[in-house]
């Protein structure tokens, strides 16, 4: 072969760096003398950002494929189970205004669209509650599995809440001890180009020149290789997603027995929203807001009044201020360099899209790893096309949460509803769904980041109105819909009698561990 791809160099040692290094190393683990080598260069001087504390269910497979034990992960990263999100005060802003976006698909989602049948019922309850059992499980802070359920398997679908700082260190130990990833602690000082414009090597302050065939840029917002070296422009999305600042705090539980919420709680504020994530040792709470719609003082006061009823000493709490720039690079893979994580882009944390994009990127790199340099440009162009599509779909889906609001209490909410801030693709879908119920065929790809089910949960959770149509009400459809809805009620009762509390299960896992089988 002319130029085989064997030396993979990951630059950056945050969560993105280690997840990418681990995914590639695990996928190509081999005893072959010609195997690929994965090296990760981490700066000893740059701290990691580490605020991403919510994952998607995909993280289970990502960890399992890296050969990680779920028990170790839960014990060492303060991890808990997440079964979706509860969106509070996003529609009217009044007390009691809330809806769930669970992680399970609506019952019978493969064959029957329950939306028309739910809409046709004049006595209908909440949509998510009618088509899935998970909201009831979340209401009672139950875990999605039992102590007898094997690692990574669930009775209900689940993701995690985790301590991002501990997660990076945990992944590092696993990657270096089990997957043969070489860990180099050094600062990158210069980038050496080859004749064809590829990166030939990176020069470091204490580990010399490190050569590679493929460089992965996990340098965070700095985007050292893709942004600084290759000058790939950043496309800002702040005209669509207004949030640009986060104020984050860590909050203790009242006592050791306080129940851990088994979902993310997202509560809308006057000019943003507050996340509330329960880890096993503490809660992580933060206010993300638009600085052009409110002041830092006002945002801090909203955060304090959110915490006040339950948390003592809130005035002494250490508040971290983190700037957020919503947007992404124009391309992600240039020459022999691909960016993963914040170096590729970032969107506000509303649907925890940061880590899932890292996982999807790492998987595609691992699966389509070019064997030879000659194949790399084709893989790069496919990667760029796929991920541009994915960023656009995520942006649409995040914006959806804002445009369906009925809040008019601040310019933040009314500005969000102005049509010039809504992407054309989303406007088209919203127009379609005024007449038709969201369904599989509404999207282009079979592996959509957000399937039609997610749109159903948000649209009908927020009271979107689709006109009742003459379609989808045949006798077969109706019978099948009623069977599925009845099965949801049955499943609810069964799960509530079986599933332990979230904290109860986490404590048991710490004490006894889960079995691998």
């Amino acid at each position: 072969m002319a130029q085989p791809i064997k030396r993979i160099v990951v630059v950056g040692g945050g969560t993105a760096g280690w997840l990418t290094a681990g995914t590639i190393a695990a996928a190509h683990k081999s005893e072959h003398p010609d195997r690929i080598e994965v090296t990760l260069i981490e700066s000893p001087d740059i701290p990691i950002i580490g605020v991403g504390e919510g994952t998607w269910p995909t993280m289970r497979r990502t960890l399992e494929q890296m050969g990680i034990s779920e028990t170790d992960f839960i014990r060492e990263c303060d991890a808990t189970f997440k079964q979706g999100a509860d969106f509070r005060q996003w529609v009217s802003g009044q007390q009691g205004d809330h809806y769930y976006h669970p992680l399970v698909l609506p019952a019978g989602f493969q064959d029957t669209n329950l939306v028309p049948h739910w809409l046709a019922d004049p006595d209908r309850g909440a949509f998510a509650d009618t088509v899935s059992a998970q909201p009831s499980i979340c209401d009672k802070s139950r875990a999605p599995k039992q102590i007898t359920t094997p690692e990574f398997a669930g009775v209900e679908n689940y993701a995690y809440h985790l301590n991002a700082g501990k997660f990076a260190g945990f992944l590092q130990r696993h990657c270096t001890s089990k997957l043969g990833v070489r860990h180099v602690l050094a600062n990158v000082q210069a980038i050496e180009s080859a004749e064809n414009g590829d990166i030939a090597s990176v020069r470091t302050d204490r580990a010399g020149d490190l050569e590679g065939d493929l460089f992965i840029d996990c340098t965070g917002f700095r985007s050292l290789l893709l942004g600084e070296h290759y000058g790939v422009p950043f496309i800002t999305k702040s005209d669509v997603l207004f949030i640009d600042t986060a104020l984050a705090v860590q909050v203790p539980y009242e006592d050791k027995e306080t129940e851990i919420a088994s979902h993310t709680i997202s509560t809308a504020q006057s000019s943003g929203w507050i996340w509330d994530i329960g880890l096993s040792t503490r809660r992580g709470v933060g206010h993300v807001y638009s600085s052009s719609h409110t002041s830092e003082d006002a945002a801090l006061e909203e955060l304090r009044s959110y915490l006040r009823p339950r948390v003592p000493d809130i005035d002494q709490m250490d508040v971290r201020k983190i700037p957020i720039v919503s947007g992404h690079r124009e391309r992600f893979w240039v020459k022999n360099c691909v960016a993963v994580g914040l170096s590729a882009g970032f969107l506000e944390p509303l649907e925890a899209s940061a880590l899932v994009l890292v996982e999807l990127s790492a998987q595609m790199i691992a699966q389509q790893l070019p064997v030879d340099r000659a194949a790399m440009d084709i893989v790069a162009s496919r990667f760029n096309k796929k991920f541009r599509y994915r960023w656009d779909r995520i942006i649409d889906f995040l914006k959806l949460h804002y445009v369906l609001t009925k809040r008019t209490d601040s310019t933040f909410w009314t500005d969000n509803c102005r049509s010039e801030t809504i992407p054309d693709s989303l406007q088209e879908l919203l127009e379609l769904w005024r007449y038709q119920y969201p369904w599989h065929g509404d999207f282009d790809q079979k592996d959509e980041v957000f399937p039609a089910a997610s749109y159903q949960y948000v649209l009908y959770g927020m009271g979107f109105e689709t006109a009742l149509s003459h379609l989808g009400h045949g006798e077969t459809d109706r019978r099948s819909a009623h069977v599925h809805m009845a099965s949801v009620a049955e499943r609810k009762a069964q799960l509530l009698s079986q599933l332990p509390g979230n904290r109860e299960l986490i404590n048991k896992i710490k004490q006894f561990g889960l079995q691998r089988i």
């Binding site: 039992q146 102590i147 007898t148 359920t149 048991k508 004490q511 006894f512 561990g513 889960l514 079995q515 691998r516 089988i517």
Partner: protein, 244 residues
């Protein structure tokens, strides 16, 4: 102790108590699965199918005998509810006795407890627990040995299971049965030893398992599977008796 009817055994307070000899559903909650200790596997495997199951409280593997085909069914009970078998698990025989922590805390080691609510206890029938002078009667001496074997069994189970896990030999098993009335049944949540993986182990590992005494248990588990037939026969007989 959470259960209010459980008391620490006392030769004054409990001097006149007697226990009924038969293992009977009169005092025994009927269960489909009963846990056993490794020291029981040899005898239990002759009578019952022996599998690994997970403890519902801890998720840890334990050894269990299967007594019925449905929840709360024990096919070894006769018409009077008396358990008829060549071997009955220690964890059943120990009733109504158990082990608890002494009143003065953990320093004393375990003490024998008694569940005063048990219908196995009587003041007239059965064998006395204490001798007239206050010493242990033979029935209680026997119980002491049973409880001792159960205590040792906890560590033995952990060691044995860890050996099996270390060699990655435990696998979930699916069992499908068909009864004479055409009813089909599925057993779930049972685990056994993956014989294919056992065959693939190198000689050194096999030798190691043999020296640790693990191999003989693996063979006993494998052989005990044929006892499922005996469960089916008993169930079919019950069905046919019901049809008449």
């Amino acid at each position: 102790m959470t259960n209010k009817t459980i008391e620490i055994l006392d030769n004054l307070a409990h001097a006149h108590l007697r226990i009924l000899p038969a293992i009977s559903s009169r005092w025994l909650p009927t269960r489909q699965i009963e846990q056993i200790a490794p020291s029981e596997i040899l005898e239990a495997a002759r009578e019952y199918p022996v599998f690994l199951t997970k403890c519902s409280q801890t998720g840890q593997f334990q050894f269990s005998v299967i007594l019925g085909l449905y929840n709360d069914e024990n096919l070894y009970l006769d018409d009077e509810g008396v358990w008829r078998a060549r071997y009955i698990p220690l964890n059943v025989r120990r009733n109504p006795f158990g082990l608890g922590v002494g009143a003065s805390g953990s320093g004393d080691g375990p003490v024998i407890t008694i569940d005063m609510a048990s219908a196995r206890l009587s003041s007239e029938e059965g064998a006395p627990i204490f001798l007239e002078q206050g010493g242990f009667a033979p029935s209680l001496g026997e119980m002491q040995e049973v409880l001792g074997r159960l205590v040792v069994g906890v560590d033995q189970t952990r060691a044995l299971v860890n050996n099996l896990l270390e060699f990655d030999l435990i696998e979930p098993v699916q069992i499908e049965l068909k009864l004479s009335n055409q009813t089909k049944l599925n057993f779930e949540a049972l685990y056994s030893v993956n014989e294919e993986k056992l065959r693939e182990l190198d000689d050194q590992s096999i030798g190691q398992l043999n020296r640790m005494g693990v191999l003989k248990y693996i063979h006993l588990l494998g052989a005990s599977v044929s006892n499922i037939q005996s469960l089916i026969h008993r169930k079919n007989a019950q069905i046919e008796a019901g049809d008449k």
